[in-house]
Each structure stands twice: as structure tokens, then as C-alpha cells.
């Protein structure tokens, strides 16, 4: 992958260097009070990111303190219709484990995202590059400071590759007086510095819709037809629905997926989760989640119960702690005590 990354980075650098000259320096620039990210004055560039430190005591495993994620965002937006966004992520950079061993051998550096957007209008935008696979809601906002638990529901990353490299069209339309966000995408399986832990798409065609419901809710639908690198002959069709409601600091969300395999029913995967969040004080929240997931193969489905707390230090930083209890957990999904502190910057 390393040899493919260099030409991509070179092209990106050239386009950005040329593009940054198009920023109208003569235009009056306000003195903004930025709430997130750091904008380099007069260039159109924004730098930001997030970091997460985990402390976990998983069932039947030693305790572990790890620098789970260190992500850097680089965005560029001029006065025209072209913009760029990338996320470079360093995962598991440092792990300190019982009885006192320190290791950096699990670290991995990957481009989680790197894409150009061209905005024809708010109804029609074009994206080219590596982007998050638009399946469900969680995968699209999976950064630790944005979610309520340290653990991630299995159905949000087990049944499909969470990144795709290819082309997408997306936009927002008004339907029955409410916003409908859509995205349609295709991937030929090329990767820009991929994550070695992930079985990437060999090819994929997908659609994602999100409709703004009355009373602060939104309903989503996902579909992907895909094959993966490890088994390109196994054609899979994934269907998903997701729901999110939030009001007055309460939140209710859920997702469900069903993945149909061309190899037969034993290779199908299915699952769902429902999560509730309620405020306990000005900054403290209680979180509860139930998840069911049945992986491809002959093992029975696993149920995971999560009960936790999240303390919002600021709107962009959070401390989380939770207990995860599994039933029929023969796929070794993480159980036990999980905690983290994460900051979006």
C-alpha cells in the first residue's frame, strides 16, 4: 500500500498548492471565534483532530492502558466549489499492559479518509477519494468524542468494511417539507493507505438515505452490494435501517442490519442495537444499550448489555466508563470494564 500512497499524496499536494492560490486574499476576513479546529489565516486550510486514551479491564484479559487513537484532520476550502478533507489516524500507538509491559508494536498509521468534494449545488455534490462507508449512523460519526460509549456496537463495523475508496454523489433535497440526505457510491476496491486490520471492499455499490422526521428524529436506510478482498466470489447484499431521536439532552438511537450472502444462509449476518441516553446532571449522562449480533457461520448469536456513564467536561471532550456483559459470547466480543477520555480539537 505504501507505494500507492505516495502518488496520491503527491497529487493531493499539487492540487492543494494550486488551489490555495485561488483563495481571494482581498476579501474581507472576519475575526472569527472558532469553536473547533484551527484555521490558517488566508489559506483556506483547517487543522484539527481528536485523541483517545483507553483504560480497560476486559474479561479474562489483563488490564490495559492504551493510546487508542490519535487522528489529524486536514481540510481545505477556498471560495470556489472544490474542497478537500483528510483524516490521518495513528491507532494503538502506545499500550501499557498488566503486569507492566509497554509496547508500540501494535501501532498502525492509516488514511481513514482523504477525498475531494465538488459542490454543484446543495442538491448535488461529487466526492472522489476515500470516505466512510455510509451504512447506518454510528459509522459516520464513529469518533470517540462523538459517541456515548467506549465500546462500539458490533453491527456498526463487523458486517462491512467501514471505509470505501471510490466515487460518491450526495446532497440534500426537501421531501414533504423535510430534509432528505442521500448518498450513492461505488468502489472498485482501490485503497489509499488502508488499515491492515480491515478486509477491504473488492467492489461495492451502495445507497444511504436519511430523512428528518418530525419532533427531532431522523430515520435512515442503507443498502450495499459488495464483495471483499478475502473472498471476492462471495457477493453480499446488506440492508440496514437506523433511527436517532434527541431532545432536551435525551437521546434514543438504534440500528439494524441484515447481510445476505451468495454462499447461503449460514453466511448471512444480522443484528440490531438500541441505545438510550439520559442526563443525570448538567454534564453527566447515563447510557444503556442492548445489542444482538449473529455472525456468519454456525455459532449462535451474541447478546451484549452495556450500562455506563459519560461525563462531558466540555462540549468537545468526554470521559466515559461502562460495564459490558455478554450472553452466548462465543465470538469474544469485548466484555468487562471499559473507560476512556477523548478530546476533539
Amino acid at each position: 500500500m505504501r507505494h500507492k500512497a505516495f502518488p496520491a499524496a503527491f497529487i493531493i499536494s499539487v492540487v492543494l498548492t494550486l488551489g490555495s492560490g485561488c483563495v481571494r486574499a482581498a476579501q474581507p476576513v472576519p475575526s472569527p471565534q472558532l469553536e473547533r479546529g484551527w484555521q490558517l489565516p488566508g489559506t483556506g486550510f483547517t487543522l484539527g483532530g481528536y485523541a483517545t486514551e483507553n483504560f480497560t479491564v476486559k474479561k479474562n484479559r489483563p488490564w490495559e492502558l492504551s493510546t487508542e487513537d490519535l487522528s489529524l484532520f486536514i481540510g481545505w476550502e477556498g471560495t470556489g466549489k472544490l474542497k478537500f478533507f483528510s483524516e490521518l489516524s495513528l491507532e494503538d500507538a502506545l499500550i501499557f499492559r498488566q503486569p507492566g509491559t509497554l509496547t508500540t508494536s501494535h501501532r498502525s498509521l492509516a488514511f481513514e479518509r482523504a477525498y475531494f468534494d465538488y459542490a454543484q449545488s446543495e442538491r448535488l455534490n461529487f466526492r472522489l477519494g476515500k470516505f466512510l462507508t455510509p451504512v447506518g449512523h454510528w459509522n459516520l460519526i464513529h469518533a470517540d468524542p462523538l459517541v456515548w460509549t467506549t465500546s462500539r456496537p458490533l453491527i456498526t463495523n463487523y458486517p462491512f468494511p467501514t471505509y470505501a475508496t471510490g466515487a460518491m454523489i450526495y446532497g440534500t433535497r426537501t421531501v414533504f417539507g423535510k430534509e432528505l440526505d442521500y448518498s450513492m457510491y461505488a468502489s472498485s476496491g482501490q485503497e489509499i493507505r488502508g488499515n491492515s486490520n480491515q478486509d477491504a471492499f473488492d467492489s461495492a455499490y451502495g445507497l444511504h438515505l436519511t430523512y428528518a422526521m418530525p419532533r427531532s428524529g431522523q430515520l435512515g436506510f442503507s443498502y450495499v452490494n459488495f464483495t471483499q478482498k478475502s473472498d471476492a466470489a462471495n457477493l453480499q447484499n446488506l440492508f440496514g435501517v437506523d433511527y436517532l431521536w434527541s431532545r432536551d439532552r435525551y437521546e434514543l438511537s438504534g440500528e439494524a442490519i441484515y447481510r445476505v450472502s451468495s454462499r447461503g444462509r449460514a453466511w448471512d449476518e444480522k443484528g440490531a442495537f438500541v441505545q438510550a441516553v439520559m442526563p443525570l446532571s448538567e454534564r453527566l449522562y447515563g447510557v444503556g444499550r442492548y445489542e444482538y449480533f449473529r455472525q456468519a457461520g454456525l455459532l449462535p448469536g451474541v447478546s451484549l448489555w452495556v450500562a455506563g456513564l459519560a461525563f462531558r467536561i466540555t462540549p468537545t471532550s468526554v470521559v466515559k466508563a461502562e460495564f459490558v456483559h455478554g450472553v452466548n459470547n462465543q465470538i469474544n466480543a469485548p466484555e468487562g470494564f471499559l473507560s476512556s477520555i477523548s478530546v476533539l480539537f
Binding site: 474581507p28 475575526s31 466549489k81 478533507f85 446543495e122 469518533a143 440534500t172 476533539l344
Partner: protein, 163 residues
């Protein structure tokens, strides 16, 4: 019990008046949504304005980039605008902006005062902002009026501004 004297009433009125002056905006005063002077042919309603301030809509019909500006979170006009147009107080939108920021979308610029908004909108093609109705002058055009009750109108009637 001592009766309330004229002095007491005067002190109370002075304190009340001082507060009203210090926040720069009275709750019963409408807000004016403003653009650069002369740009009045904009097809704007509440939903279009909401899409602009949630940065879902980023271009005017002629292709010019929309440069939306906000007042600071603690400004009463910002709070009234946010509730009337977006349906939430600014702090309730923190999660929304965190999510959008994760996708490289930044919230509208925040300018420190009503005068800063007027100047920026007057000098920047494609800019849009809001200020208390009586702060508007000839440097900008009013495209919408938001009443104290949150109703959105194309124009203002029966509004008397102190001279």
C-alpha cells in the same frame, strides 16, 4: 412598611434601563436578516435560512458562496435567532456541530458584535447575518424579519425604532 418613594422608582428604572442598554437588544424587538445592500432578489424562507445556518446550503442561486455569520453564543439576539430558525438553543446544537466538524464542516463564523456583523455583511459578497431590527442601516438590505415571537416575515410593519 415604608411606601415606595419616587427615588426607589427612579433607581429601579435606571437599573432596568441600564440592563436593557447593556444587552443591546430588547426581547420585544424583531431581528432583521441582512445581506449586502442591493441583493434583495433572494428566495428565502425559514427552511432555507435554517439550511444556510446548519451549513447544508452553501451557495446562492447565482453560484456565489454563502458566508453566514453568527453573533456570540451569549448574545440574546443569537439565542433568539437560533431558537426561532433552528429550533434549538445554541448549546443544544453542540453535538450537531461536533458531528459536522468530523466531516470537515465548520459552523458559521462568529463575530463579536452587531456592528461587526453589519460591516462584514456590507463588505462581503454572498454574506448573510442578523442584527436587531433597529440596528439596520443603508449599508445592508433586509431580506427577512423575525418577530419577537419567532415568526418569519418578508418585511416589517409597525416597528418604531428610537432615533
Amino acid at each position: 412598611m415604608r411606601p415606595i418613594s419616587l427615588l426607589h422608582v427612579t433607581i429601579i428604572l435606571l437599573i432596568w434601563g441600564g440592563c436593557a442598554i447593556s444587552i443591546g437588544w430588547a426581547a420585544e424587538e424583531p431581528l432583521a436578516v441582512i445581506v449586502q445592500a442591493g441583493q434583495t432578489k433572494l428566495n428565502l424562507g425559514r427552511s432555507e435560512l435554517a439550511a444556510i445556518y446548519r451549513r447544508k446550503r452553501n451557495y446562492w442561486d447565482d453560484g456565489t458562496k454563502i458566508q453566514a455569520v453568527n453573533l456570540p453564543v451569549e448574545n440574546p439576539a443569537r439565542r433568539a435567532f437560533s431558537k426561532a430558525i433552528l429550533g434549538y438553543a445554541p448549546e443544544e446544537l453542540e453535538q450537531y456541530w461536533n458531528d459536522r466538524y468530523f466531516h470537515g464542516v465548520l459552523p458559521p463564523y462568529v463575530l463579536s458584535s452587531e456592528e461587526a456583523v453589519l460591516r462584514f455583511v456590507a463588505e462581503t459578497p454572498g454574506a448573510i447575518g442578523y442584527v436587531p431590527y433597529c440596528d439596520v442601516d443603508k449599508r445592508v438590505s433586509v431580506v427577512l424579519v423575525i418577530s419577537a415571537k419567532g415568526h418569519v416575515n418578508g418585511s416589517a410593519t409597525d416597528i418604531l425604532c428610537p432615533k
